[in-house]
């Protein structure tokens, strides 16, 4: 089906065949069907099911969640550390993107390659690697002791452990998005500002940042959405309690065998993420239209 469709399709305008619309819809039908069947329908079914109480509908399970101190602590913990690591990752990648925008040569190429490297490292590998690197008696501590610094306290099993891992893991995407955004800023605008006596800080604040609004929102959403639902990193590096929502949902579903409660937790997580998700989709849509 697809091959035939491609052969029949041609450059726009050239062949305004009456069935172009139909052909287009047929070509995109398979991936769209997959998204509907695997994302939209299951998610809607889960949201609906989480409100089912007996034969009717009600918010009983949600009230139970909000009344439970431990669940609320997990939720607050998740939102706080997701925001903290997202903002830190954005700040770091903004710095890196600035450096990459204004530097050329081998050094910049190395920095660029290194900042993209985490893209190819799965979460479970970096979690384990950080245990060995930052953990008790890890390589980092050994290096510090070589230069005479003692009294190192490991972030492993504290909230700082996953915080570091989140930043590490999510660095590549914002660097990519912000570097692409910064290349859109013309050299002449920056040079003009400098000729008029603007310092580096002023150029960043008044010329670069305003033009970076959209890439910044997209990068924020990508990192936030990737972090808030994560499981591996907080499970392996974080404290046993409070838990990130991903770990909490998995434990409720797997160990406690309470799929109903897990669904409620998942829907609450979805509600928080969907605010950011909608901003992300709206920003992408606006960018796509231009």
């Amino acid at each position: 089906m697809p091959a035939d469709g491609i052969a029949a399709a041609s450059a726009p305008g050239r062949n305004s065949a009456p069935y172009e619309g139909l052909r287009g819809l047929l070509l995109v039908a398979a991936p769209i069907a997959l998204v509907i069947l695997l994302v939209i329908l299951p998610t809607s079914a889960m949201v609906l099911g989480s409100f089912r109480v007996g034969d009717g509908f009600g918010a009983d399970r949600y009230l139970a969640f909000f009344a439970d101190a431990y669940s609320m602590a997990n939720l607050r913990y998740t939102v706080f550390w997701t925001l903290a690591s997202t903002v830190s990752a954005l700040a770091l990648s903004f710095g890196l993107a600035l450096y990459l925008r204004f530097s050329t040569g081998r050094l910049a190429a190395i920095v660029h390659a290194l900042s993209l490297f985490p893209l190819f490292v799965p979460a479970i590998i970096i979690s384990y690697a950080l245990v060995r690197f930052l953990g008790p008696n890890g390589l980092f501590q050994l290096l510090l002791e070589q230069v005479g610094i003692t009294g190192y306290r490991t972030p492993y099993l504290t909230p700082i452990g996953p915080y570091i891992a989140f930043i590490w893991e999510s660095l590549p995407l914002p660097v990519l998005v912000l570097t692409a955004g910064l290349t859109q800023v013309s050299d002449s605008a920056i040079e003009a500002a400098r000729d008029l006596g603007a310092g580096a800080g002023r150029i960043v604040a008044e010329i670069l940042l305003p033009q970076l609004q959209r890439p910044l929102i997209i990068a924020f959403a990508l990192v936030f959405l990737g972090t808030i639902g994560s499981y591996t990193i907080p499970y392996l590096l974080g404290p046993p309690a409070p838990e990130m929502m991903g770990v909490y949902i998995a434990r409720t579903m797997g160990n406690l065998q309470r799929p109903d409660e897990a669904a409620v937790q998942a829907v609450i997580l979805l509600a928080i993420a969907s605010v950011v998700g909608l901003i992300y989709i709206a920003t992408m849509a606006r960018a796509g239209r231009q």
Binding site: A3, G5, I6, A8, A9, S10, A11, P12, E20, G24, L25, L27, V28, P31, I32, L34, V35, V39, I40, L41, P42, T43, Y99, S103, L107, V111, L114, F117, P118, F120, V121, P122, I124, I125, I126, Y128, A129, L130, R132, F133, G138, L139, L143, E145, Q146, W168, L225, G229, Y231, M245, G246, I249, A266, L269, L270, A273, S274, V276, G277, Y280
Partner: protein
């Protein structure tokens, strides 16, 4: 910009090496260490003992092969359904085109774990849970965004004038597609394939939660035998 002192660049590069490569280097060293007692900066005993141990275990080799099979099958399936769709998004006009293109963002906008729970419920009902094809289908989702958006941008970037010129010279539609459109889109298609392949290969928790009983992927051994992880990194990710 005028030349900035290279010291700043050197510092940034050095920090990046320590921060990005440091943890990975630690794992690499551990893979060849047989014993590493506390105050030593480097392992006290080097060797390949754990490599032999790991590669000799059936429970390690099978998951790696399963992993590669699942990844190849699902990446190829995604390519088969997504590349023609990308062509359509770039070149054909049909109702709801923009809306449908953005609907793929929904995959990213739903938190991973919420999606697992939702899909697991559906799979449980239709008996796909714990099967090879269940994992293949779920893994396809991870690569879809790349495989739609990158090729769409690539097809859009090809100037239609080139294709029109070929038509004017009497080429058939198939010939134009194969000899004019494809060669220009190929690098981007290949890039999206590689990116999709890597994304699928590196995911472990999706299959872990949907297929635990039967289909084992290589990440499981990482999960259950932390020691072998250091060595399993190479064969599974190289």
């Amino acid at each position: 910009m005028t030349a900035r002192p290279p010291i700043a660049g050197m510092l940034i590069a050095l920090t990046m090496v320590l921060v990005i490569l440091g943890p990975i280097l630690t794992v690499m060293i551990w893979a060849f260490a047989e014993q590493w007692r506390y105050p030593n900066l480097l392992p006290t005993d080097w060797g390949l003992k754990f490599w032999y141990q790991m590669l000799g275990r059936e429970t390690v080799i099978t998951p790696i092969l399963t992993s590669l099979a699942i990844t190849s099958i699902s990446t190829t399936l995604v390519a088969v359904i997504c590349w023609p769709a990308a062509y359509a998004f770039a070149r054909l006009s049909f109702p709801g085109r923009q809306l449908l293109l953005f609907s793929f963002l929904a995959i990213n906008a739903v938190p991973k774990f919420t999606l697992f729970v939702a899909i697991a419920t559906v799979f449980l009902q239709i008996g796909l849970i714990g099967t090879f094809w269940g994992v293949v289908i779920v893994q396809m989702l991870s690569a879809m965004l790349f495989m739609i958006w990158i090729p769409t941008a690539a097809f859009r970037g090809i100037p239609p004038a080139l294709e029109e010129a070929a038509f004017d010279l009497g080429a058939s539609r198939l010939r134009v597609f194969l000899q004019v459109t494809m060669p220009q889109a190929l690098p981007a298609l290949a890039a999206s394939y590689v990116l999709g392949f890597v994304t699928i290969l590196l995911r472990w928790n999706r299959p872990c939660w949907l297929a635990r009983p039967r289909s084992r992927r290589c990440r499981f051994c990482c999960c259950s035998f932390p020691r072998s992880l250091s060595s399993s990194r190479r064969p599974s990710c190289a």
